[in-house]
Amino acid sequence: MSSTHHCSHSAEIDNHTQTSLDALNLPSPKKMLSEVRALLYNYQQQQQSAMNNVYGLLRLEKDSQGHALIGLGPTFDKGTAAEHFIFDSGARLSFGLTLQERGQGTRLLGYRVHYAAPEDKHPSFIRFDLNRAIHQSPLLEPMCHLHPGHDEIRLPSVPLDPVHVLELVLYVVDSQFQ
């Protein structure tokens, strides 16, 4: 299929994504950091073998205009790094959440949450991505999508609270690889 194929369904999905994002109001980046840290910490408390210093792994970068990045692990997964969150299953997690405080709330600008499955397991990875803008070919690259183990396959997704994406990874995705 041509990469320029017009798909009205995809365009409609992206419009819905944009509308959902406009309506989504998140807590402050600092509070989001607390929620993410507590989620990972409580999960870590239940792990049997993998050790993660959640406090040391999570990082927050903020600028004077309210933009914020909450990051854990490398920006691009190229194999296990010391900065990854490691699961008992042998899988690893890295993510970046970008936010902007505005008035009384915080808007979600984008996210990437990369779960790399244990060695020799398939799909080898699952990544949740939220892009900032609508792509010229929304069929190939929906604004919000899921990679089911292939960088060029992007299945449309709905924009989620990033804490919920992490809950899905911790309690739904990884549990299939235990």
């Binding site: 600028d63 990045l69 990051g71 490398p74 902007q100 900032r132």
Partner: protein, 195 residues
């Protein structure tokens, strides 16, 4: 106790000690004017324990008011911001301590000087607190210069662009809309170029 601990570490220690019920603790603030809300302690405690946290401010002490506040409700985590309480007032609290007993934690927010007064005048409350005393420090999760440089290098390698070239593209409205590109703009202090 000279070592400071971040709000998360304090919440973590309180939770690990099982100190989220029927317990007393002290958090020493950096200065008497430090606002407890701005420290993130409330958010960390709520996130980690899933128990609601409430701040009670008592500039001038009334034991009746304090008791009422602590019991409405009595099962949350109550952060009591200690005001200018005198030794005499601390003695009165110490005598009436059973009236203050509750299911949830009482966390006293005070300065080192106020702790000195408490220790002198309220030995029973001091024994309730035991080793649950924490010196509040900064959050500690801010990205260091090293973290930032490493992330920027990763992005430059991946996209085959210098940060300057990326900024030129962003200013021309030609930056990728991928989440990593947004991160790059924030890391170089140009979040304002995010479309």
């Amino acid at each position: 106790m000279a070592e400071t601990q971040s709000p998360f570490q304090i919440a973590q220690r309180m939770e690990l000690r099982g100190a989220t019920e029927h317990s007393w603790a002290v958090v020493l603030s950096g200065s008497p004017t430090q606002d407890v809300q701005s420290t993130g302690l409330t958010a960390e405690l709520e996130a980690l324990t899933s128990i609601p946290v409430r701040t009670i401010f008592e500039q001038t002490l009334s034991i009746g008011d304090l008791r009422n506040s602590l019991h409405s409700p009595s099962n949350d985590i109550a952060i009591v911001v200690v005001g200018d309480w005198t030794e005499e007032e601390w003695r009165a609290i110490d005598i009436n301590r059973s009236a203050l007993e509750r299911t949830g934690t009482i966390l006293l927010w005070m300065t080192t000087d106020q702790l000195g007064t408490l220790t002198t005048a309220a030995p029973n409350i001091r024994s309730f607190i035991g080793v649950s005393m924490f010196l509040l420090g900064p959050d500690g999760s801010a990205m260091t210069e090293t973290d930032r440089s490493l992330r920027i290098s990763e992005l430059e390698d991946h996209y085959g662009l210098t940060s300057e070239q990326m900024l030129e593209a962003a200013q021309a409205g030609q930056i990728s809309s991928e989440p990593q590109a947004l991160e790059w703009l924030i890391l170089v202090g140009r979040g304002d170029l995010i479309p």
